[in-house]
Point group: C3
Chain length 673, copies 3
């Protein structure tokens, strides 16, 4: 595994650089990432390229066994470029130009900027593409971060109109499919169409708080922006692939924060890379982003390009707490267990200047190695010990399906906001599975469903006819399908279906949605589950459907006027079973439901007992099961095992239980009877 | 009574239309409202009018006994108009043009837009003015909704200067009356005056959070905008009245949300219409808006143009809960009891597309009639049964006076914000009266006071000399007058009076305000009421006056340095009595005070016992009293009666009590002894 | 002492003026402040000066023994000026011009406005500079109030670039010292540099919520704006000093709210003046602003130009509660005890018009003298009685050091926001000292430290090498130095030090910061203090350092992984002692630490026992100690005395205790044994 940190040689005097180089080399890591904000040093004047300083660092580290990820610096164009071509700047949804001075202030569609980006990338590819001490390339930095993914400049405006015209051909077709007749919004021509003035971007301000735009237009705009940014990125990936055999990627910002469709954006990249900053003080690190990452390129290993390194001051705001001793090490191992192939801390040494000054790093501003540095050394040592297990695979039989159209549609027009967040809800299901002893994959609607026995489709709000067919076939051929409230309510135009809901699937589920409402604090009701002998009760949550239809009611309401109405249905369809869950459940009841469905699907639990804050990950190597176990309980914990296991690191055998220290972890190999 | 829903034939294919027509006809309703957003279909290209589709719907429904309200479509100008005349768009207080795409993005003062509006209205009048299946016209839709009532475009700017000049004649007069000398703001000429940059509009953003503008200027700006919008509306009402005998109105947004002065705006309209979206899940529907509505045109019946129809998804945000069974029916009957002549649900069938897609309606997106549809049928049947009572009158002896100048002045410069809201406070008094067995009217300062025995004037912050005289005369001639804190502090220029407060009324009340302060959580004190034998105690609230003067103290403070100071005064003036209430009271104490004053005024309680969540409304027909009773307690309730009554719907007699089911209601006719 | 109120003759008719003059004269006060918003009356047309009205008021009052502070009216330029020169207006960080109509809508750097300001000041100086009834001048009004201190107009932009060039000479030097290489922000020339788009101004809106700017640039911008405003003010002070011998000042807004560096801004002023609006209802008035004020010009008396006068309505928002009886009087005496030489209420009589209409004043809108007026009379009488004590000095041996660079740096990049506020934290230390019986001074980094025995330096985040040396020398020469967390982390360029922290002082403190983090609700830990026999415990707070080094640990953590780590160090350095406090402490533990350090420093407690809400201030006159005692407990209180004292006002002697009524105060002279 690649393990290391981000480093910035361009910030340093010769003396400082020498100090850091020694620390880096002695830290035991094998990878650094460099260059992502150094355009003004790589090309201080137009066309005058200077890479010697970077190459020197690459060589120095490389000779000591540390390989480099080289980044293209396009997140921060240099002053000369911006002042020569002021039209390249990003324009936000309020029409404000983003000035030189922060980062990510460029428009990804601007042709001038695209050309400059191509050229600097070409120089980098030419210079570092074959360097033996390099191990990969990162394009740009955190695309769309800090609300830079929804440009409203004139170039984007014109391109968006054109893009719509390409897709819909005639304005009549666009009017019809968008339902523009609502509020009398039929357009006469594509060039009348403006980009939405409001936005889904995190932290962005709405230009007009009380202005409501057509949801089809808004979804198309999300797609357009995501595609535009992929196009921009691929200009660079194409160039780099022309010069290098090393993997080329970029660093996304985890899940769908910045609303670039990572399933699409990684098609021309060699792996999915992303940045991750979980809390590390007595906190269970959420592994859902890892499961998602693994699914981005169909189970391929992923890269964590930036990861927590410590606490203290912070970018903006109030500061960040330190990881407690062992938490950093544990977190790195956890990423490894979930399929990470690279894990780089951000960053090696604290910046004294700039917007991120005084922030967390492995080594403090004064360059004195302390606790976190020594923990990094220990981590590097452990990763070496685990090298033989690197090629272990995953063999999960359960998958959770997520999708960007639905994600965007639910941000454009939220449901039960702010409680219901689509991806958080998928995460809840992932964790309830895990806490009940089942590992699962997170996959896209385009993935191959046939290798799974049990498919969970949370709130598939936007569901194409093709996707409906895919779910139908999966069930027909013997799968267990679990759909939830909000499923198949809209088509890909972000327009509601006018057949009964779940549209196109009422026969598969044997159920029809008869009444819906959000569930707030004041209109909670109770639900009873009847699961073939075992029972469970729960309050409802998030959303409440009342179901009709011929399916068997395995969940019913038990309160008020909804009493006895069906809320969870089970239906045999073909060789399989389709279950529709018309409301959210409390974790315990959801766990009961999942166990019931796993029993039906013939999926067995991990023999190492997981529970909340004890995470267990199964990996399979040469037919042997390895269980990675992580103790996030903030105290020593006992973990019971149902079969004898062998502790890979401590090299001993347990019959009934393993004991994990606070922030501890273990790799337990199942001993076959 | 007109009962029905909004419907949108322009959204439908022929087949869909046919499906809906059958459902509409079988629903039992007698009214639909159509056309308010269909300009792009009525006039798809400039001057090319197409009304056949609308007429066909009118005819089809009309022949089945359903009459139509036809709307002018000016809330949403078509794309061709806006792109040909971009200057017609609305400009908000921040100077931002509102683009084509939402709704209400036009300037009501723009002469080009006024001319286009006149023309389309003329075509509508010509085509539908005499149609026998039409029953009325709605102008535009929800004027000023979504912060569209305070345009800042150049046309408005120039007109506002001119408007001020017309009113004040000389700049010296304007400077003097505005107190522009404060902060040295004397103007040299009217054209130096700019519209305020900040605004009272709901949800609008302030352009400059820390910028304080002259309160006279701000009040004048509110008046100017209200008048401008009335002028715009009356262009249409004048046109329509030239073509039709049917009533012409528009749909306001209830009380004073959008700050158009409805007392003035309805002068050229045939009735007051408004939209109302109360919660219907175990909630008591607030009838204060109905009492207000009845007062807009001196007690004339009002129209509810849009009303709740269900729950589920919502316009923007988190969704809406469903009404529980019976709540819809109960709410419609309640509006009828309070004087509604029309009640239209919004809307008949859920939209699949557009900004309001998936929202609540009577019939779901899939067109299958379910619970709410059947409840609509039942409601229509009940309304038929109650038809003989339609002409029953109101005979309330108590009135609550409200006013737009005060409303605006208190939004411009709030008092005890956000706790004290002027109209909510009037509503509180209305409900305390109701809960104590007294129905009341809500009237404007211009109304005829002489028909009331007891007049309540909550916080008449802005009080003209004429209004002071009116209150004086009312009392002199024998009325019971109740004024409260904040009364008569300012003149119509929004300038404070420099005589002692309540200005111009200290002799009427026999009281002078000696000290004032807001009442927050930390400076509450206690008050004791001494009401001719009966006593009551309460904490103070909202605001606290210490009163001097010769009046009898019927309320005194009992705590801290205010101890024994007068807070409620009672004074005999002429043949009447004037009471000044220098603070808010808790509901129970306020009830005691009202009972005391009603006893003095000789007003008797309803014999059907009201209380919180049991609403009783008295109507009088041919000298007989009918009591409409509504059970909002969310469970079965017993209602005691002091005289024998006859249940008009159940056709039986009660001696001592009636039992109302959950969400139930009854019409009880008093049986004369 | 000067005691009085603000008054506005320009608002009045002749009759009103006469009424007020009589009230003013009978009130017993000796000072009024006039003219600060009257430019449009002083110069109604360009070059046409009219001061007769003002002179008449000055004369009338003067002859009755009331002297006048005359203000320059530049906070509000007249309409003719702004419409003739629209370029003089203020432009906020969003690029929005502030229109005529509020106040403070001018740019302090605009040369046209500077010239007009100079001229009107000259006229005022010429007319009133020698008037015997005048006693001083106020320049402008509340500089930078209402977010008017960070102009972004083109004039400012150009001047800022020039200012940076003057300071740094070459762009390479600026790039290097700013660390512009971070995020690749090297500039090619000074004219590429733009002012920051975001701002630290109170209530201002951030232009780009997610845009992070270089902290060096941001700090320089704060300095530039502060200096620009001082330059503007000094144009006026220079003019006035040419015409008058009377003191010239302006009215700041207390502490550092508006972020003008008062230590620098008062260099050309004759005293420090400021406005202060503390709560007066059962509230302890915070005297920290007085201690700060006294330190602005090295212990010289200060002027309070505006002070609370009452409650009721308010500028904007919800209103203000009234002072309880006696609170106004007590508060005025308190300011006197802390060194005020002038105390003017804002204001004498309530405005009926303008943005501040209906607000609090001494006399209500109706001109009837009531409670607050009579309390003012009583206060004036008491001040006369205390006149013999006016020249008493302060003899504090403890000082708290504060600084604008640190203040600005912590607003630009906050720590533990919003809990940790730099000046509030200094205030906390001041009050813990006071509650433990020690009065202290508040001084700047440039003050003379040698007269103090105990120096407290809270969170000296930005510490120059010179300041480090100053602290070193203070300790070396025998002082007790207390530094806290966040000390000496950055240099004056707002760039972090790369030597170990506290930079340049690790040998003085004998301690090195090894790990830092903010302390939030969830990561609190416990601390034990071991103070030479006495012990104390506390939770940590705000921030947590783990210290290494050779110093004696007088505070250690007692919980979790930090257990036994040093958090408070004590080190002998030269003849003195340096203590580093690596976290905040609860008040009681902090009090123990202070007592311990005072004992070491040989500082004795006041013999009149202070505690929370009982404030004791020592003054020294002719070698005698006078203790001003204030009862803020909201009830009667007993105060114990350790030596016999003489009550200066009541003229009696106490041996063991004095009794103070609610809102009471006493002046107790120590009787020497």
């Amino acid at each position: 595994m690649y393990y290391g940190a981000a480093y910035y040689p361009e910030h340093k005097t010769a003396e400082e650089l020498e100090h850091d180089m020694i620390l880096l080399i002695e830290s035991g890591i094998n990878t650094v990432r460099m260059g992502e904000f150094a355009w003004c040093r790589m090309e201080p004047r137009e066309g005058e390229y200077q890479f010697d300083w970077l190459e020197a660092a690459v060589e120095r580290l490389g000779k000591a066994g540390i390989r480099s990820i080289i980044c293209t610096p396009t997140a921060c164009p240099p002053a000369w470029l911006v002042y020569k071509h002021p039209e390249v700047v990003y324009v936000d949804n309020r029409g404000l130009e983003r000035p030189f001075g922060g980062r990510r202030f460029y428009c990804y569609n601007n042709p001038v900027y695209r050309e400059y980006s191509r050229k600097i990338t070409e120089e980098i590819g030419r210079r570092f593409g074959k360097n033996p001490y390099v191990c990969g390339f990162q394009i740009d930095n955190e695309p769309a971060q800090e609300a830079s993914g929804r440009c409203h400049c004139p170039v984007c405006q014109a391109k968006f109109s054109e893009w719509l015209k390409d897709k819909y051909k005639t304005i009549e077709e666009y009017n019809r499919r968008s339902g523009n007749i609502f509020w009398g919004q039929d357009y006469d021509s594509f060039d009348q169409i403006r980009m939405p003035v409001n936005t889904i971007e995190v932290s962005a301000e709405q230009k007009m708080p009380v202005y409501f735009e057509n949801p089809t237009l808004r979804l198309e705009y999300e797609r357009f922006c995501s595609e535009s940014q992929i196009e921009y990125q691929d200009i660079q990936s194409d160039v780099l692939h022309g010069y290098t055999e090393y993997p080329v990627t970029t660093n996304g910002t985890g899940l769908a924060t910045n609303s670039i469709d990572y399933y699409k954006s990684t098609r021309k990249l060699d792996c999915y890379g992303f940045d991750y900053y979980p809390g590390l003080r007595d906190a269970a690190v959420d592994s859902f982003p890892y499961a998602f990452a693994r699914g981005v390129k169909d189970g391929a290993p992923f890269w964590v390009m930036e990861f927590m390194s410590g606490g203290g001051h912070r970018f903006g705001g109030s500061g960040r707490v330190q990881p407690n001793p062992g938490a950093l090490k544990q977190a790195v191992l956890q990423s490894f267990a979930h399929g990470a192939e690279m894990m780089l801390h951000f960053q090696f040494r604290t910046f004294p200047f700039g917007a991120e000054q005084l922030n967390y790093a492995i080594v403090d501003m004064d360059g004195v190695p302390r606790r976190r540095y020594y923990e990094m050394q220990e981590t590097a040592r452990l990763l070496k010990e685990l090298e033989p297990l690197e090629n272990a695979g995953f063999a999960n039989e359960i998958a959770i399906c997520v999708d960007y159209d639905t994600h965007w549609a639910l941000r454009i027009k939220p449901v039960n906001d702010p409680d219901f967040k689509y991806l958080d809800y998928a995460g809840k299901m992932y964790h309830v599975l895990e806490d009940n002893g089942y590992n699962s994959d997170v996959i896209s609607y385009d993935a191959d469903f046939s290798k799974y026995k049990f498919l969970i489709v949370p709130s598939a709000f936007v569901a194409s006819r093709e996707f409906q067919q895919k779910l139908r076939r999966f069930t027909e051929e013997g799968g267990i399908l679990l759909g939830t409230f909000l499923t198949s309510a809209k088509n890909e135009d972000n327009v509601g279906y006018t057949d009964s809901l779940p549209a196109g699937l009422t026969d598969v589920f044997g159920a029809v949605v008869e009444e819906v409402e959000p569930v707030f604090k004041d209109n909670h009701t109770n639900v009873r589950l009847d699961l073939d002998g075992s029972e469970a009760v729960s309050t409802d949550g998030m959303w409440s459907d009342i179901l009709g239809g011929s399916a068997r009611a395995i969940g019913t309401y038990t309160q008020d006027y909804k009493t006895d109405s069906m809320v969870i249905s089970e239906n045999t369809y073909g060789k399989g079973t389709a279950v529709y869950m018309g409301t959210d459940l409390e974790k315990e009841a959801m766990g009961e439901l999942f166990q019931y469905l796993c029993r039906r699907a013939g999926i067995s639990k991990n023999p190492v007992k997981a529970e909340e804050k004890i995470e267990v990950v199964r990996r399979v190597l040469n037919g042997e099961n390895y269980y990675y176990v992580f103790n996030f309980t903030a105290k020593e914990a006992e973990v019971s095992v149902e079969t004898p296991v062998y502790d890979y690191l401590k090299k001993c055998r347990y019959e009934e239980k393993a004991v994990l220290e606070r922030n501890g972890f273990a790799v337990l190999k199942e001993i076959k009877g």
